[in-house]
Symmetry: C2
């Protein structure tokens, strides 16, 4: 499954199947999600979920553990509806415009750094079953999901990936997924269309207890020391894009579901 | 005029008055702006103005000279409607939460840096007459407006300013306005409620030809060399918030009307 428009139907079907076996809460959610798939404004009195989402995307609202309970429906509609797709398209359009505009020396050292989760692969099938971020992150359940290697590609990111390769730009994946999930991650990437890369960096045990900001900055520094020029850097978390050696230009793809510090 | 909710009416009244004297285009705009003051989605086929705005606010879309012509109505509705106010409130709420949470040594060296235009003062009365950013920036007309010292305060920012002072935090204004507009700027700030500050930094001629990023970084560095701790830094442009000596935490207030590099 490589295209996004069919995801909502896929989710609903999957959720219905899941629900029939076990889970009344999910059924309630499906009901809520059916009538509206847009992402406009907030329907929650007293909380503008759109303002909250903007605050998250602009790095004003940081360090949060879960989305506001009042915004669960809003975030679900956003993620399953048109606006998430449109917002992603707008970022990828700018990134491609930028990449095309560069007059690159084709020496194999031009590198584009992609994060993985919610940047190149979508964990929406997992999060749709876990309240779109309203539940506290559960690493055991999430890693079970990762082990399955069944995350779909974010379709716009996959298009950009292919266009970057066509421009002669190398790709690096830099993810906070632990090194122990390398095989599952690489299999998943290949299965959905990311067939080649210069390097795929997963978090090894030496970074235990370190922030994502530190880990990603350190690994980007190593890449630059190897002679790569990081011409672009794309992630769904600001910790992918801030810090040192951030790249000549950074691109923030949307993610209102979780925050990584 | 210190409260924002009355601004739309104020604008409409002013615009009507202006129009009766001279300008048919403004009348047309008033008509467009009357029926809808929300900010939801895009009503422009093929362009998601909401995605464009998100792209601007997240620093994905940079270096632009004017807003997309197709989004003039959208940006106008946003700026005059509720969502701009709500988005501003959400940022200010987070900033105040953060400031309150700090366990500060009250030695008079804790500093909050505020940008001026579209951060503490609103130029919406000017931009409402100039297509909300659809017209190329005209420094002569804009400086005429600045000279009048009649820009209203952004009401949420003014509230934060007062709360910061109450917490014993000093305030610095750091603006790209030229040094020659110091008197007009200081008069305007005082007139609308910003009665005191530690320093107000305007751009002097030594920065001619330099970017805002360089100017603001350099001036923040000088502040830190004087012993100030920049605990917060708030601006409507990413060039206010990126660069060096950016402060312990940065806050991006919304501005979809113009881009400064």
């Amino acid at each position: 499954m490589k295209t996004f428009p069919v995801l909502p139907l896929f989710f609903l079907a999957t959720l219905v199947a899941t629900n029939q076996a076990s889970d009344g809460a999910v059924s309630h959610q499906i009901h809520l999600l059916r009538p509206k798939t847009g992402s406009h404004g907030s329907h929650v009195p007293g909380v503008s979920c759109l303002s909250w989402r903007l605050g998250v995307e602009t790095h004003n609202i940081i360090g949060w553990k879960t989305i506001p309970a009042a915004c669960e429906g809003y975030v679900g509609h956003y993620m399953l509806g048109h606006q998430y797709r449109k917002d992603s398209e707008a970022v990828i359009y700018e990134a491609h415009l930028y990449a095309k505009s560069l007059n690159l020396t084709n020496d194999g050292k031009n590198l584009w750094v992609f994060d993985v989760d919610e940047t190149t692969l979508s964990n929406l099938p997992y999060y749709a079953r876990h309240g779109f971020g309203v539940e506290v992150f559960n690493p055991i359940l999430f890693n079970e999901w990762v082990s399955k290697s069944t995350a779909p590609a974010l379709p716009e990111s996959l298009k950009l990936y292919k266009k970057l390769l066509a421009l002669g730009i190398k790709v690096a994946f830099l993810t906070g997924r632990p090194e122990s999930y390398r095989k599952a991650t690489e299999t998943n990437l290949k299965n959905v269309g990311y067939h080649t890369w210069e390097t795929a960096i997963l978090k090894d045990s030496s970074y235990a207890g370190k922030t994502s900001l530190f880990y990603k900055s350190s690994e980007r520094e190593k890449l630059e020391k190897k002679g790569y020029r990081i011409i672009g850097n794309m992630g769904d978390q600001w910790t992918d894009l801030l810090g040192t050696n951030a790249g000549n230009r950074t691109f923030k793809v949307p993610d209102p579901m979780y925050y990584i510090s």
